[in-house]
């Protein structure tokens, strides 16, 4: 009765091979590496690029490990020391220019035949880095959508030749004013057809005649939000790539939040500026005839003008009409102009170039102002427990220059405070604007030294806890304890293997989950062994006791583990970072421990005792009670 069919042994051995194989990459230390990726999808990393890199390395005497082409149009180059890694990055940057991104990275030093398998990725708390949780300002996204619709209504009604008095925004809807009811009815009919399912139109009678009330439908609002979130993720990804961070994580969380994790980044300030700002540029004509000082002092602002400030604090009046906005910019690079002032060279797309050349051609010899627009949002909790969102928009005129000639695809702007600011602006313009402002609701920075301490402490505690349990089990259950220990070891290997296979991120709470599983995984064996002892006490033969012990303990083990699994699943569903990590390891540990502790140990016990017909004694008793 204590024999296992062949297939069960085959299954157990296959699982063991799987476990050891997938866990194996974790044993190799990581080595410094550089990751090269492309900045736009037009570029391809091919053999020519690899040859260029190799030639530069040869020329500068840089010794690199092998150059590996990754599947997603990336290159991974390994080095022996961090010093060579740093000189190599400079060399690659010099050779390939800003069409390619380079990022410092750590790559596992796995032998080539094992490269297909990856080790567990380490969480920020174990390797250092910055974690941001950003919230997208959805109100701003809706505002923007309303603004766009009001523009659209105007041009639509003009196109349909329907006279309207004005379109204005009232709280969260738009009101289109008409002189007569007939015009209104005519407009409603046309608008309804044009904006079916997107906007609901309702009649409103006003003192000035008749009006249409335009309200965004819920599905339209949801779409706008979804789009804003997606768009922001895309932009943030571009910005992060510009920063040169290897293996960043950028993903949405819930309906309006984005998680950004930047491993290895030690100074969050730069990252925060780059990720959080919604900086863009606008080009407007200067109203040279008007008196800006008088306007600032409380005087009249001429119609069609808007009051701005220059960087030095001086007021300036610009035309309301925008010549060009930042959305047409395809490339921007920082540099210096002929007077060695920091500058940004801007390249427009064809549509933008056409627009801008038309606008500048008509205004040669006039002054043009470059407006630098930046949003900053912060959220505060008020006394009464509600939250107040405060968005500050700063609009500064960074540069005023006379238009010397028609400007088109490529031109240069100056007026920035420092080369660093020019760098940042160029980067932001390259990566594109955010669809809606974001603000940081949570920020966690783990210094590299703490990361190292954490991982050391984590592993130490796993090993010590593990060894303590091993010693206890052998002491208490003798041969059976030894068998349980084999199962426990396999269990640990399996957890690591599954985590590696799923590419789950190992965090400190995850390690705690593993440690806890080690303690609880022996529970199944304890239940079985205590049951076997009991059956022996009840007078059963050793063979019968083993069989009945395993059988009777099974439903208890299943019940106990399923209830714990329920708790783990709920924990995972609640899903904030560290808790998730804990829940995953706990859940994996429960499932794999069921396998190793029941099937695994039974297989070994059967091998040891199963064939002995007249088994008189089994080594399961405590020391001293055994003869």
């Amino acid at each position: 009765m204590n024999r296992y069919p062949m297939w069960k042994y085959v299954l157990i051995i296959s699982v063991m091979i799987f476990g050891f194989l997938f866990a194996l990459p974790n044993l190799f230390p990581s080595q410094p590496a550089v990751q090269v990726s492309v900045s736009s999808s037009e570029q391809v990393i091919d053999n020519e690029i690899i040859t260029r890199i190799k030639t530069v390395f040869d020329k500068k005497g840089i010794k690199s490990g092998d150059i590996e082409s990754l599947s997603n149009n990336k290159l991974l180059i390994r080095f022996d020391s961090p010093d060579t890694q740093l000189t190599a990055v400079e060399a690659i940057k010099g050779e390939l220019g800003n069409k390619f991104h380079t990022a410092l990275n750590l790559a596992p030093a796995t032998p080539k035949w094992l490269r297909g398998l990856n080790p567990m990725s380490l969480g920020l708390d174990l390797r250092g880095g910055v974690h941001f949780l950003m919230e997208v300002d959805m109100k701003a996204a809706i505002d923007k959508s309303l603004e766009r619709h009001s523009e659209e209504f105007r041009s639509f009604l003009r196109g349909e030749k329907i006279n309207y008095l004005g379109v204005k925004r009232v709280s969260n809807h738009l009101v289109i004013q008409f002189k007569t009811t007939e015009l209104r009815d005519q407009a409603r009919q046309k608008l309804k057809r044009e904006y079916r399912n997107q906007i609901e139109f309702g009649d409103e009678e006003t003192a000035r005649g008749a009006a249409l009330k335009a309200v965004l439908t819920q599905s339209n609002i949801d779409n706008t939000k979804r789009f804003a979130l997606q768009q922001n993720i895309t932009t943030l990804r571009k910005r992060v790539n510009e920063l040169g961070v290897a293996e960043p994580i950028i993903q949405k969380q819930g309906l309006d939040r984005i998680v950004v994790q930047l491993p290895g980044v030690q100074d969050p300030t730069q990252a925060k500026i780059i990720l959080g700002t919604t900086a863009t540029l606008e080009f407007r004509l200067v109203d040279e005839g008007a008196n800006a000082l008088a306007a600032q002092a409380g005087g009249e602002i001429p119609p069609g003008d808007k009051l701005y400030k220059e960087r030095n604090g001086n007021p300036i009046l610009l035309k309301r009409r925008v010549m060009l906005t930042g959305e047409y910019i395809t490339d921007a690079s920082a540099g210096f102009d002929e007077n060695q002032r920091p500058s940004v060279t801007i390249v427009l797309d064809s549509k933008g170039a056409k627009l801008f050349s038309r606008a500048t051609r008509a205004n040669v010899q006039k002054l043009m102002g470059v407006v630098f627009i930046e949003h900053k949002t912060d959220i505060k909790k008020l006394e009464d427990g509600s939250f107040k969102k405060k968005t500050t928009v700063s609009k500064e005129v960074i540069n005023v220059a006379r238009i010397q000639e028609e400007l088109s695809k490529r031109f240069q702007i100056t007026g920035l405070d420092s080369p660093q600011e020019a760098q940042n602006l160029a980067l932001l313009l390259r990566a594109g604007a955010l669809a809606a402002p974001v603000y940081i609701v949570e920020e966690r920075t783990i210094g590299p030294s703490l990361g190292e301490d954490n991982i050391k402490a984590g592993f130490k505690s796993v090993i010590i806890g593990f060894v303590l349990v091993l010693i206890f089990m052998v002491f208490y259950y003798r041969v059976f304890g030894l068998v349980a220990n084999m199962a426990l070891t396999l269990n640990l290997v399996l957890i690591v293997a599954i985590l590696s296979m799923l590419q789950a991120t190992l965090t400190l709470p995850g390690i705690a989950g593993i440690v806890l599983t080690v303690g609880m995984a022996v529970d199944a064996n304890v239940l079985i062994y205590e049951r076997i002892k009991e059956e022996l006490r009840n007078g059963l033969s050793p063979q019968a006791a083993i069989s009945s012990g395993y059988e009777k303990a099974f439903s208890t083990i299943a019940d106990a583990n399923i209830t714990t699994l329920i708790a783990a699943i709920v924990l995972y569903g609640m899903g904030t970072g560290p808790i998730k990590g804990f829940a995953i390891t706990l859940a994996i540990g429960i499932v794999s421990s069921m396998f190793t502790a029941i099937m695994g140990t039974r297989a070994v016990i059967n091998l040891i005792y199963g064939r002995k017909k007249n088994l008189k004694n089994i080594a399961i008793w405590e020391w001293g009670k055994h003869s």
Binding site: T445, S449, I566
Partner: protein
């Protein structure tokens, strides 16, 4: 020669249920009382605000750091963290301060006084996150309880699930109560620990209940109280051995796992001890108090007899 050890000594656990009830009630009331009066020493995960951990080259003077920060208009809580060289600075969220800049500013002030410091970590949590976390944590707890209630009712009987829930609430409230009484910081990892304790305590209780179910069906002559007492005794060795191995690894985690995991392992250690006690004294006693009888479990009898008949 095979030696059959004599039947183990029986302890009268169910007879102890009155003193156990008094002890549990006292602990429970003390916990609730402290939670109402003292509340919890909530960490930055729940309150929002900024936490900065800085490493110094030599033992740091926290009073000096506090004064330097006060000069920079930061009213901060400064304390040693683990060693005299490590300092933890906590700053409550403030109305007029841009939260995103607090960490940078504080580090700048500290660096101005001592350029050799090492930034270990900065955590900056917005106030709305804390509120959400509290709500989510509560929801998770209720969801876990509901899931367990359903599962145990399906596998056993309604009174068993009530007994399991009573034991659970007992364990959670007393563990949280101890955090309230000792003013240990309650952060996100402690919440995770509490949820893990739910899993663990339940595990323990289910094992005993499983045996109670089996004995109700098997020991036809014994009354409910006797059956329950026998069940507790039969599972006692397992209860103690498993708690011991779990406590072994938790102690390893507490001693060697680093400061960040201290609170977590402490919470788990308390929870395991309380959970072990409750699975012996509280869960089964509550079954008796609800007037459980053998007959309550008759339906699954058939399945169990099949199981028994397989044994030669």
């Amino acid at each position: 020669m095979r030696k059959i050890p004599s039947q183990k000594k029986m302890f009268n656990f169910t007879g102890m249920r009155k003193p156990a009830l008094i002890l549990s009630t006292l602990l429970f009331i003390a916990s609730i009382g402290s939670l109402i009066i003292n509340g919890l020493n909530l960490g930055v995960d729940f309150t929002g605000g900024t936490v900065i951990e800085v490493g110094y080259q030599e033992p740091a003077d926290v009073d000096k750091i506090r004064a330097a920060l006060l000069d920079g208009k930061f009213d901060a809580l400064v304390q040693h963290f683990g060693t005299a060289k490590d300092v933890l600075i906590r700053i409550a969220p403030k109305e007029d301060e841009n939260r995103a800049e607090v960490g940078d500013k504080v580090l700048a002030i500290l660096k101005a006084n001592n350029p050799d410091i090492q930034m270990r970590r900065v955590e900056n949590v917005g106030p709305q996150i804390g509120d959400e976390l509290r709500d989510d944590g509560g929801t998770a707890m209720l969801l876990a309880l509901a899931g367990i209630l359903i599962y145990v009712t399906l596998r056993f009987e309604f009174r068993f699930s009530v007994g399991a829930i009573i034991a659970l609430i007992h364990d959670v409230v007393i563990t949280v109560g101890i955090f309230s009484i000792t003013r240990m910081e309650f952060d996100l990892t402690i919440l995770a620990a509490i949820l893990a304790i739910i899993g663990y305590s339940l595990n323990d209780t289910i094992v005993v209940f499983d045996r109670v179910r089996e004995n109700f069906l098997k020991l036809r002559k014994a009354g409910a109280e006797e059956s329950i007492n026998i069940s507790i005794n039969q599972t006692l060795a397992r209860t103690i051995v498993t708690s011991l191995t779990t406590l072994l690894v938790l102690s390893a985690l507490y001693i060697f796992g680093g400061k960040i995991i201290h609170g977590f392992s402490m919470a788990m250690i308390i929870g395991v001890i309380v959970g072990t006690y409750s699975s012996i004294y509280v869960a089964s006693s509550s079954l008796l108090m609800m007037g459980i009888t053998r007959e309550a479990l008759l339906p699954p009898e058939k399945e169990n007899e099949d199981e028994l008949s397989e044994i030669p």
